[in-house]
Symmetry: C2
Subunit: 306 residues, 2 copies
DNA sequence: CTTAAGCGATAGACAATACCTATTATAAAT
DNA sequence: ATTTATAATAGGTATTGTCTATCGCTTAAG
């Protein structure tokens, strides 16, 4: 059986005329006759009762043609669906981002994205780097926004921007009187960190020259599960911390006893990149998404030219 | 697009493995790969995201494969339906019969038919010869049981049996004392007839040598619309009539003042035949139906050997 | 009564394409 | 480093869908 054959019998049933049906199917009449004969033999039944003068559909033919119509409808639905999704921007894009980035970046780009690519729908998830990479491999998400370099098999990574770390310290802290903060200053203060698994925790440790062991001994009980909590702790005077620039766009500096200051250190930034499977077929959609991000960054962070 | 292609992508979606899918489809792996590539190009979308190590279905692929499954289901339903009807006896057979035959013949054969061919369902209709022939041409019925020879284009006719005409007369009639009834006797009595259109009316007139005109003058007001009515009239003494043998199988002789007697005339019978379109594809079913009729006739009528 | 026109079926040649074998390229496992 | 497993590619073969030309038949017209 064949989809063309089904179209043929449907058309014959409609026209009750082999010649006209053939013309409507853009084939010759012998072709149509032959294909229908073949189909009838394959099915073992007669679909049309024909004389030189008339063509009538048999009872069983009526039933079969009804089913054939449904089958053709399904295939046309397939073509419609495919056509609607030929635009790689169309349809949902499943994006995961790390928790120290997502709540600060997404508000910046969602509106511009909708304006620029209204047909592109996002499905967002917020998880830590390892989980995101696993979900990427499992095809559960299409891309991940990470702040750590990735070099895994089958994954590709495009850097979007460099996000500086700022120092957040309590107002009462002796930092308050310093003109600039040096790395030595950072080494000699109480640094609060995010709980384990957050890449930001490890990066902060690297910059402040803290070792894992040191950390465990000192303030394991003061690791926070979110940046918001962390800043609350800073405001309460428990210590200082490094904060990615985008996270400071809120009202932290003004009210709640937290002072945020730029760091004049070469390596006090993180590289935010979008990571996806090399085989992902809708990379154009990711490209568009990335472009919207880079076009809508505040001037505290600098987009990377690729 | 092609039904085979749809089967291919369904199988790949199930196995997530081109080689295994190819084996299950009984084709080589390159064939499967090529066909799927072709389909993806035709649809303009990627159905599977594949590496050397894994095959995963894309989001749009999932949707399309779901539709493909439905389409394949429809075609399998077509094959099932065709298979179920490959037995030409299967499915309903639309039979029309004339009113002077149907109510007397059908009770004789319905039970034997069900015993012999339980899968053969009858759809009966009861109309006069002309109507039946028209419906036959219109494909509204598949065969007609008639008592008149038919020689129309595209129709074929098989004689089933010869049904003798019996004479039905009132008990008080002078026929009652006669040993045998001759044709002259018939000419000289009041013959009651069925209303126009019934072939039995014309046949009775032929046998009794009545002309149309004669009939109109005499007893146009006494034509009956059914055999039952006609016999009621006979019982009431309004005249005599010719009755086909099968119609006398009831209890007419015993009670209601009607005497039925065989006629010893060469031409006092009618030929009952089954008529159908030459192109009708289920002639085997008609053959079976006809055989059941001939096997279950009472000994008052004689089957015709073909 | 002959001729012409319309219709579906048939025959044979051709061309598109589905299919196969053999091979390549690449990644994972030993 | 070698082997194994996988999908992709290349090139040749075979199937089969399609075409043109024609037949056989029926109906309509001259």
């Amino acid at each position: 059986m064949n989809l063309k054959d089904l179209k043929y019998i449907i058309t014959v049933a409609e026209t009750r005329h082999f010649g006209k049906a053939a013309a409507r199917c853009f084939v010759s009449q012998p072709t149509l006759s032959g294909q229908i004969k073949k189909l009838e033999q394959q099915l073992g039944i007669t679909l049309f009762e024909r004389t030189n003068r008339s063509v009538e559909v048999t009872a069983i033919g009526e039933q079969i043609i009804q089913l054939a119509r449904q089958a053709i409808d399904q295939t046309e639905a397939i073509e419609q669906l495919a056509l609607a999704h030929q635009d790689p921007l169309a349809g949902p894009l499943r994006i995961g981002a790390i928790p120290t980035l997502s709540p600060y970046l997404m508000p910046l780009i969602l509106m511009p994205l909708r304006r620029r690519h209204p047909q592109l729908k996002l499905v967002l998830s917020e998880e830590m780097t390892d989980t995101l990479l696993a979900r990427l491999h499992n095809h559960e998400i299409d891309a991940a926004l990470l702040a750590t370099p990735v070099d895994e098999d089958g994954l590709e990574s495009v850097t979007l921007f460099n996000e500086p770390f700022w120092l957040a310290h309590p107002r009462q802290h002796w930092f308050y009187n310093r003109e600039t903060i040096s790395r030595d200053d950072l080494d000699n203060t109480d640094m609060l960190l995010l709980s384990e698994g957050h890449c930001l925790a490890k990066q902060a440790m690297d910059i402040c020259h803290l070792s894992e062991r040191q950390q465990q001994g000192d303030m394991a009980d003061l690791r926070a599960s979110s940046l918001e909590t962390l800043l609350q702790l800073v405001g309460a005077g428990f210590g200082s911390t490094l904060v990615p620039a985008l996270a400071l766009r809120g009202s932290w500096t003004t009210d709640s006893g937290v002072i945020a200051r730029k760091l004049e250190l070469d390596d006090a930034y993180r590289q935010v990149s979008i990571v996806f499977r090399q085989t992902f077929p809708r990379q154009k959609a990711l490209q568009a998404f990335a472009q919207v991000i880079m076009d809508n960054l505040p001037n505290t962070v600098q987009a990377v030219k690729n």
